[in-house]
Structures are given as structure tokens and as C-alpha cells.
């Protein structure tokens, strides 16, 4: 999962995202960004609020969710559990997609995920992003 933002000069920034939670209203999502990358992301979000969240299943099916920033806070223990579940799911998905183990394991397990910042945004558009001529089709 990755998140993209941009600054006032339209220069983009990005980070990988370790774990996310969809709120019961089905419109709001909170995602977790490790502190090593959160400074620039937060600064962009606070200045213009625009964010894109790329979610891909390793069958190479991918979705791009776009929306507006609402708020942020440090992660708590519940968040941490979500992150750990995400990490182990990501690793098993990579191994299933035939990534060599000596790459997948250190890649996923070596990502620093704590301390992290929980960032919340409202989803406004969803796009299908799977590679191929269908890419970019808006689905809601």
C-alpha cells in the first residue's frame, strides 16, 4: 500500500503505508505511516489536504482511492495489531506470488513500522488501476 501527496508547487511525495482501517461509515479510512516518512506527508496534507492511497492485491489487481485529509494522531496498540496483521498478510501474498523468499522476508519484515502516525481521510473517488488498457477506469 502506498500513499501519495503533493506540496504547494505540485511536487509529489509518497510513502509506503503499513496497514489501514476502513471506518464503519464506509467513507473514511485511516492509514498508518511510519514516522521516518511522516513529516513531509503530514506537511502536504495539512497544507492542501489532497491524498491518494494505492491498494493492490498481489494478483496485480489495484485500486487508487483519492480524497481529502481529515486528521492525524499517533498510533495506539489497536493500530499496532492491524499493522502486524498487514505485515504477515503482505509477506504471505508475496511468497504466493513467487517472490524469492530471501527477498520477500527481509523486505517486508525489515520495514520500520513503529513509531507511526495514523492519518485519516474521506474517500471521494475510487479508480481501478490494474495494469492494462483498462487502467484508470473510475468505479465510484
Amino acid at each position: 500500500m502506498y500513499a501519495g501527496t503533493r506540496d504547494e508547487r505540485l511536487c509529489p511525495a509518497q510513502t509506503f503505508v503499513i496497514g489501514a482501517v476502513v471506518h464503519p461509515d464506509q467513507e473514511t479510512i485511516t492509514f498508518f505511516v511510519p514516522e521516518s516518512r511522516s513529516e513531509r506527508i503530514l506537511s502536504d496534507l495539512k497544507s492542501n489536504g489532497r491524498v491518494a492511497l494505492a491498494v493492490s492485491l498481489l494478483t496485480h489487481e489495484a485500486y487508487q482511492l483519492k480524497g481529502s485529509y481529515i486528521s492525524s494522531r499517533p498510533t495506539d496498540t489497536k493500530d499496532r495489531t492491524v499493522q502486524e496483521i498487514y505485515r504477515s498478510k503482505l509477506l504471505s501474498a508475496m511468497l504466493q506470488a513467487s517472490y524469492p523468499e530471501q527477498i520477500a522476508r527481509p523486505l517486508v519484515l525489515g520495514m520500520a513500522y513503529q513509531p507511526a502516525v495514523a492519518m485519516t481521510f474521506r474517500v471521494e473517488e475510487i479508480f481501478l488501476q490494474t495494469p492494462g488498457p483498462e487502467a484508470g477506469r473510475k468505479i465510484s
Binding site: 508547487r9 509529489p12 514516522e35 483519492k66 504477515s88 522476508r105 527481509p106 520500520a112 492494462g132 484508470g136
Partner: protein, 147 residues
């Protein structure tokens, strides 16, 4: 000049996918996975253009992009601030990328269907080696997959 150091080259072999963030003229960011960011020279990289997508559309409106690449042996990662310069449909950079794509396409039954439309050439504005993104490898219990 000469921004990209030699040590970044293994990160540009497509062993671990990279991702690229762009932004449309109306200020909406977009981030996608790319299989490989190609090294052209110490000041340029290239992305392959096979199917038209949001990334391609964005950089033609707003040429600034950010690519994240990672070395598959050391797991060091880099943020590359890029500016789109032009596209090539022939020449040495195009040929190298085209040959690779043709070879892999032929191995997966996609010969003639999955083709390189163009090589998009970007100027590298800065290359930042990331710190603090990784847990020290000794902390990872590789065998059991827990930390």
C-alpha cells in the same frame, strides 16, 4: 551533475518493484507501482510506457514525479525527485528497454501484444538515500518471521 551514484544501480534492475508518485495539474496526487525504473546515466532515468494510464497523463501535464527504488540485496532505498523531459521511440535507451520487454513478453505468450510504446526520459533533480525506513536486519527473526 552526476547525481546517481553507482551504488544505486542494483536498485534499478527491476528485482523489487518501485513506485512512482505524480500529481495532476488540478492538484490531485497519484501513486502507482512500476516494475522497473531504468538507469540511463547519472542524471537521467527512464520509465516504460506500455499502456496509457494516470501516471502518463499526469506527467505530461505536470512533469514532476517522485520515484522510490530499493536495492534487493542491501534493502537500502532511495527517493528520486524527477522531472519528465521527453519520450523516445527509438535509440539506445528505447532499444534496451524494448528488447527486455520483447523477451519477457515472448516468454509469457504476449508476443506482439505487450509492447513498449515509448521510453519516458526523466531528469534526476535529487537522489536521497532514505534513513530510518528499515529495522536492523539482526532484529528480524528471519526463520520464524516475527520480530
Amino acid at each position: 551533475m552526476g547525481i546517481l551514484p553507482d551504488e544505486i544501480k542494483p536498485a534499478m534492475q527491476g528485482v523489487i518493484p518501485s513506485h512512482v508518485a505524480t500529481c495532476s495539474l488540478d492538484g490531485t496526487p497519484n501513486v502507482t507501482t512500476v516494475s522497473q525504473v531504468y538507469y540511463v546515466d547519472p542524471d537521467h532515468v527512464a520509465l516504460s510506457y506500455q499502456f496509457f494510464n494516470k501516471t502518463i497523463k499526469n506527467i505530461r501535464e505536470n512533469p514532476r514525479a517522485l520515484a522510490w527504488v530499493i536495492n534487493p540485496e542491501t534493502f537500502e532505498s532511495w527517493d528520486l525527485a524527477l522531472e519528465y523531459e521527453h519520450s523516445e521511440t527509438s535509440g539506445p535507451v528505447f532499444d534496451v528497454m524494448d528488447m527486455q520487454i520483447e523477451a519477457i513478453a515472448s516468454m509469457t505468450g504476449m508476443k506482439g501484444i505487450f509492447k513498449l510504446r515509448a521510453s519516458d526520459i526523466y531528469r534526476v533533480i535529487s537522489a536521497t538515500k532514505n534513513v530510518g525506513e528499515r529495522l536492523p536486519l539482526s532484529e528480524i527473526d528471519i526463520a520464524s518471521g516475527t520480530t
